[in-house]
Subunit: 271 residues, 2 copies
C-alpha cells in the first residue's frame, strides 16, 4: 500500500538549503508512490505559543490554568483549535514524519517547538501513566533532518559543543521515542552555509540517495519501555542491566548506567 | 553595589506554581537590595517566531534569507525590532538572569525558545569565530528554574527519561555557557502537580532558602573554551585530556571522552 509522509518544515526562505532538502524529499518520495503532505510552518504562520486560545469553548480552570490538563480534556471532547486538529489529522494518517529545520540553539526553532508543544498533546500523543507506551504512533517512523551552523568536529565527544548524540537526546528520545515513534537516524547537514557550493550539492545528493531507501531503514535502538519498572518510578529493571552490559540493546546516551558511551552509540541502527 | 536581576518567566497563569516560584524570587532578591526586572513572556504576548519582521528597514537578502546573518547586520546597525532591543537592554544591564518555566517536551516552552532565538542574536550574544568566548556576558550569572511533569526517578541515569544532565546539556552548555554566562546549578521542582500541597510548600520553602544565598553561589564547571583548539575544529587539546582524567575540570556530559559519566557530574559546583 502507498505510504503517507508528513514533512514538518521550518525555514523562512524558499531559497534556503533547508527548502532544497525539503523539495528533494517531496520529489523522491512522491516518485516512489508516496503521498507527501508538507506543513510549511512559516508559510502557515503557525502559532507557536501554547495559550488558552488553543481550547475552544472555554477552559475548565482559568485561575490555575494547566496547558497539559486543559488540552487533554479538550482533545477528549473535540474542542482543540482547528489548526491543532488539522496537524493531528496529518500525523494520524502519516506512516513517516520528517522534521526539516535549521538547528537554532541546539534544538528546533521556536516555531517547530510550538508544533511539538501544541500538536503533541497529553492524551493524544503521550500518557503520564504509560510513558513511551501509547499505541497510536507505534507503526510510524519519524526522523530529524537539519542543518547546523557548526562544523561536525565541534559536535564530537571531544568537540566544544559536545557529542551530537547528547544534544539530540531530548529530541530523539524525549520527543520522538517518548511518543512511541520508531526513530530513524538523523540526517545532518553540517554547516552548509560555511562550505563550497560543490560540497552543498554533494550533501543534497547524499540525501537524495538516502531517500531512495529511507522507507526500508531500520530504526535506532532505544531501551524499550517495558524494561522500566513502573512500581519503582520507571527505573530500569535490574535484570535488564545485564542485557545493557551485553549490548542486546544499544547503549543509549541517557541510559549510560555509569558505563562509557561508545562514540555514536545512539546512532547504531538495528538490533 | 546593588545587583540587577532579570527574570525571564513563561507561564500562562498567575495561579501556577511557576508564578509562585517567580514571585518568591522577586520578593527575596528585592529584599536583598537587588533591582529585579521581570519579562513575563505570555503577558507581553512575546513574539516567538524568528521572521524577517524582526529587522526594521528591510532585509539584505530576501531570496536567501538567513536569520542569523540578517539579525547580525541589523544588530550592528541598530535595526533590530523594538521588542528585541528592549530584551537585549535588560540582558546587558543584568548581573543575574533566571529563566523560570514549566518544562515542555524536555526543554523550554516555545515562547521561551523564541526568546533565545530572537534575543540572543549572532554578534550580540555569540560568535561563529569565537564560540563560547564573547566577553559581553562574562561577569553575569544565569540559571534555569523549572517544574517537571515527571518524577525525579524518571530522570536518573537508570530512569526512563535518562539522566537529567543529558537533557539539560543543550540548554546549560549549549545556550548559557555558549553565550559566556556563568551557569548556576538548576533549580528543579519535581512534578509539583503530582504531589501534596505540603510537598509543594516545602519545595517553595527550599527555593526561598536557596535564594538567600544565590548571589554567592559558585557556578557549575564546564570545560573552558581555551581548552579547545580552533585550528583543529575546536577539538579538545591533547594536553587537556590529562586534566579531564585527573578531574581538574568536572567531567561534563557532552565531553565524556569515552569515560564513564559519574552521576550528576554536570551538577558539581566549584573548581
Amino acid at each position: 500500500m502507498a505510504k503517507k509522509v508528513l514533512l514538518v518544515y521550518a525555514h523562512q526562505s524558499s531559497g534556503s538549503f533547508n527548502a532544497a532538502a525539503k523539495d528533494a524529499a517531496v520529489e523522491i518520495l512522491t516518485a516512489q508512490g508516496c503521498t507527501v503532505e508538507v506543513s510549511d510552518l512559516y508559510a502557515m504562520k503557525f502559532k507557536a505559543t501554547a495559550t488558552a486560545e488553543d481550547i475552544t469553548g472555554g477552559v475548565k480552570n482559568a485561575e490555575h490554568f494547566s496547558y497539559g490538563e486543559e488540552t487533554k480534556l479538550a482533545w477528549e471532547e473535540g474542542r482543540l483549535a482547528a489548526d491543532i486538529k488539522e496537524e493531528q489529522r496529518k500525523l494520524t494518517e502519516a506512516d513517516l514524519i520528517i522534521f526539516q529545520f535549521p538547528m537554532y540553539w541546539f534544538t528546533v526553532p521556536a516555531i517547530m517547538k510550538g508544533w511539538f508543544d501544541r500538536v503533541l498533546t497529553l492524551g493524544f500523543a503521550y500518557s503520564v501513566e504509560k510513558p513511551y507506551s501509547l499505541e497510536i504512533f507505534k507503526g510510524k517512523k519519524a526522523m530529524l533532518s537539519f542543518t547546523t551552523g557548526a562544523h561536525e568536529s565541534m559536535f564530537s565527544a571531544n568537540g566544544i559543543n559536545g557529542d551530537i548524540n547528547v544534544t539530540l537526546w531530548p529530541l530523539q528520545n524525549g520527543v520522538l521515542h517518548c511518543c512511541g515513534f520508531q526513530v530513524l537516524a538523523p540526517q545532518i547537514f553540517w554547516a552548509p552555509s560555511h562550505v563550497s557550493s560543490e560540497a552543498r550539492s554533494a550533501m543534497l545528493e547524499a540525501w537524495r540517495t538516502r531517500l531512495q531507501g529511507l522507507l526500508k531503514e531500520e530504526p535506532l535502538v532505544f531501551t524499550p519501555p517495558e524494561c522500566f519498572d513502573k512500581e519503582k518510578g520507571f527505573q530500569l529493571k535490574p535484570e535488564v542491566h545485564e542485557k545493557h552490559a551485553t549490548k542486546e540493546f544499544g547503549l543509549t546516551v541517557g541510559h549510560h548506567l555509569g558505563k562509557p558511551l561508545p562514540p555514536n552509540s545512539q546512532m547504531k541502527a538495528g538490533v
